[in-house]
């Protein structure tokens, strides 16, 4: 026996996160659309993470790839997205894969909606995910996304 048999399965789960930021929809949209602005907040935990590559082509049909590793496991974590729909200052839709090493752990469809709220912006983040082969997400994707949206909020104050 040289290879372990992989148990194949798909677990579906959806989560929704809402945030209100004091900045305008145009400012919040920019934090997703501009590679430099996005790099300020879209990354793993600062003291546990090293980035390897980052590429971004923000247009419908364009791709984004971000690869990094956690210091503790030295295994590449790869985010690979395809932009499916973009309406400036209003919404962004992308599908993405996550790979740990060469194992695809999930495929997800993400919708970001931005709505004016007073002087600020209400952000609605909806993620419809398929988790693969027993990868036990146990809510970690949602927690990780909440942390990212907190980092986004801090980056808007710069």
């Amino acid at each position: 026996m040289t290879t372990a048999e992989t148990t194949r399965n798909v677990t579906h789960a959806t989560f929704v996160i809402e945030r209100v930021y004091p900045q305008s929809p145009a400012r919040v949209f920019h934090a997703f659309a501009d590679p430099k602005a996005k790099a300020k907040w879209f990354h793993g935990p600062a003291d546990e993470w090293s980035e390897e590559t980052r590429e971004m082509d923000f247009r419908i049909g364009g791709r984004e790839t971000s690869v990094g590793q956690l210091h503790r496991d030295a295994t590449p974590h790869a985010f690979s997205a395809l932009y499916q729909d973009i309406v400036p200052d209003r919404r962004i839709v992308f599908s993405y894969d996550m790979l740990i090493g060469d194992r695809r752990i999930s495929v997800s469809l993400t919708t970001i909606e931005l709505k004016p709220e007073g002087q600020g912006t209400r952000l609605l983040f909806t993620e419809q995910g398929a988790y693969l082969d027993g990868y036990d997400d146990a809510g970690s994707r949602e927690r990780g996304t909440r942390e990212l949206l907190d980092q986004l909020g801090r980056s808007l104050m710069d």
Binding site: R8, V10, T14, Q84, D85, S95, S108, L109, Q128
Partner: protein
Amino acid sequence: MSDHSVAHGTFVIEKEFAHPVAKVFGAWADPKKKSKWFGDPNNPAQVFEFKPGGRESSSGTIPGGPTFNFDVTYQDIVPDNRILYSYDMHMDGKKISVSLASIEFTATPKGTKMKMTEYGLYLDGLDNMAQRKAGTISLIDALGGYLDKA
């Protein structure tokens, strides 16, 4: 004027076929076989790359009605086991939906159980989940008819 609305929905369709898994999977994986039951038979897919990261593209016009474009990106494929793909639908050039479909194939004593889970977002009030689910059930029925004859 568009209201930029997004309606999210998920539906699941399960169907059992009296055919082996390899045959049911093959009806999705082989462009000639898929063209027999999926979409407009006179207008088969112009692009068909059945591999992770590959694309599929086809279009069809309802007589006297709108033209639809269907554009797929395959995200994950495990032969005879599962297919995950995301797709966009356009109607007369307007994007009406973005979806992520998972199709799982399981061998049963009778043949194959196929489970389709589809995440969708329906844009700007131009489509809705009930309509898409009904359309998908018709497709799966067409697949069943094709498998019985093939």
